[in-house]
Amino acid sequence: MNTRWPALIACSVILTGCAGMQNPQKANLVHCANQFKASKAENYPLVLQEGDLCLQKNTLPASLQSLIYTVQADAYSNLKHFPEAVAAKEKSMQLAVKPDPRANLDLSAMYRDAGNPKKALELVQYNLDNGMGEAGKGSGFHMPTYYHLGLALTDLGQYREAAEAFSTGLQRQPDYAWAYYERGIAYDHLGGRDDAKADFMKFSQIANKKYVLEEHKAKLAEYRISMP
């Protein structure tokens, strides 16, 4: 995600510049620029519409097509159209110039959303099998890999292994609030109420309230914990 946005902004600037030109072919690029603008404005139906037009009316290089599909996938995901999100993300990855371990993790999340945790797990395991850390081959594994591993294992009902994966991620990044929350969920399923409570408490202390939803608050309430 961190590397994607600068790329998107750069593409947006280039495409906006091209779209302003008088050449009608170049003018079609306005749809591509509009897609990025709509994405920034979180107008996801418009993202999909403009993205489709961008792809239909232009012959873009593979790398740019890949980017358009990535934005489409993100929009589908936000609209909770999970199978479409998976399809768009897979197209994006097929068109990508080189394999991106982070894209595999994003796709894993989309497969989980789409109700296929087995495939989600396989994608994270592919990264692990091939030494594909978040920053590239041989760069080592950190919280994102273990967090997605834990989430896939949770969805598969392998709570002990999930708790282990979150613990491993927390050794790398002890301030990632959501790993505490998810490990708390895993402990909760294992009947480890003391461990779950400790994790939910830690989560409540360090989580950004902006992203804490009612369902999370309800879980904390089961343990008599409230967000400060």
Binding site: L121, V124, Q125, L128, D129, N130, G131, G133, G138, G140, F141, Y146, L149, L153, Q158, R160, E161, A163, E164, A165, S167, T168, Q171, R172, A186, G192, D195
Partner: protein
């Protein structure tokens, strides 16, 4: 423990060479077993079709259930009998699994008087020591040695430590008289999966590795961490090792018969493998 030992923790302050996370064979998920139910053909008198058939079925069901319960009870009794450790040799076999079995078996074990002093740790028992984290508090000397297949076990050792940027290390097991090769030879018949209990330099080891996320009870026996190489992040090495004791007391001059867990050892893992410990002792 020897400085050259393959699975020894590094000396604090001295960094081991790091190794890349290598590709490992993907584990195969256990396939779900499905059972097909075949219809049982029974002949019933035709003159009592509605009343007699259910009654006989009920009798059959009752008999099946009765025998099932009897079989379960017998099975449970046999299992309970098998789990009760009554000899030092049986205890060593349980220990050699390097998992919770050892501590569970000590709960009901009947061992020679004056050997191991045990304490309760939650739902299990373990040899009493002061603290696995405290230097000088990790050892129990047996008043009377525990003789296991001719090997004199003179004490029990239990240590845990974290080495920054390397991982967590846990060692537990027996301190024996004799040379490592002699001790290993006498104990080998008692050791679980002893085909893999082989010489590795001066030590005799049975090693395995587990990647975080693998099923909690599943260990890989291929592509192991090489000698002198730290366990890669995201992996745990489990080793049964018979080796020369450290050069300092209480291990000096003895042979150690240890289990170890090394690497990314987390609380959820310890809850399964070391129920005698506070799983968060290394957090």
């Amino acid at each position: 423990m020897t400085a050259t030992g393959r699975f020894q923790p590094v000396t604090i302050g001295r960094k081991r060479p790091e190794s890349d996370v290598r590709s490992m064979p993907a584990f195969s998920q256990k396939e779900k077993l499905t059972f097909s139910r075949r219809p049982v053909l029974l002949k019933f008198p035709t003159h009592q079709p509605t009343a007699f058939v259910p009654t006989s079925r009920m009798i059959l069901m009752f008999l099946s259930l009765f025998f099932g319960v009897v079989l379960l009870a017998v099975g449970a009794a046999c299992t309970a009998q098998a789990q009760t450790v009554t000899t030092p040799e049986q205890l060593l076999t349980e220990f050699s699994r390097c998992d919770a079995h050892f501590f569970e078996s000590l709960r009901d074990a009947r061992l020679p008087v004056g050997t191991l002093r045990l304490s309760d740790y939650g739902s299990v028992k373990a040899p009493t020591i002061m603290s696995p984290l405290q230097e000088g508090g990790t050892y129990q000397h047996f008043e009377t040695p525990l003789i296991v297949n001719g090997v004199r076990m003179v004490g029990y050792y239990n240590q845990a430590e974290t080495i920054k940027n390397v991982g967590n290390f846990l060692f537990w097991g027996f301190v024996a008289d004799g040379l490592p090769q002699e001790v290993a030879a006498k104990l080998k018949p008692l050791i679980v999966d002893n085909a893999r209990f082989v010489s590795q330099g001066k030590a005799i080891t049975r090693a395995e590795i587990r990647r975080v996320g693998d099923p909690i009870g599943q260990w890989r026996t291929e592509e192991l961490t090489g000698p002198g190489v730290a366990t890669p992040f995201g992996f745990v090495d489990r080793v049964l090792i018979v080796d020369t004791g450290d050069t300092t007391p209480p291990l000096a001059g003895h042979t150690t018969v240890f289990c170890s867990l090394q690497g990314t050892v987390t609380a959820p893992l310890l809850q399964v493998y070391r129920p005698d410990l506070n799983a968060h002792l290394l957090d």
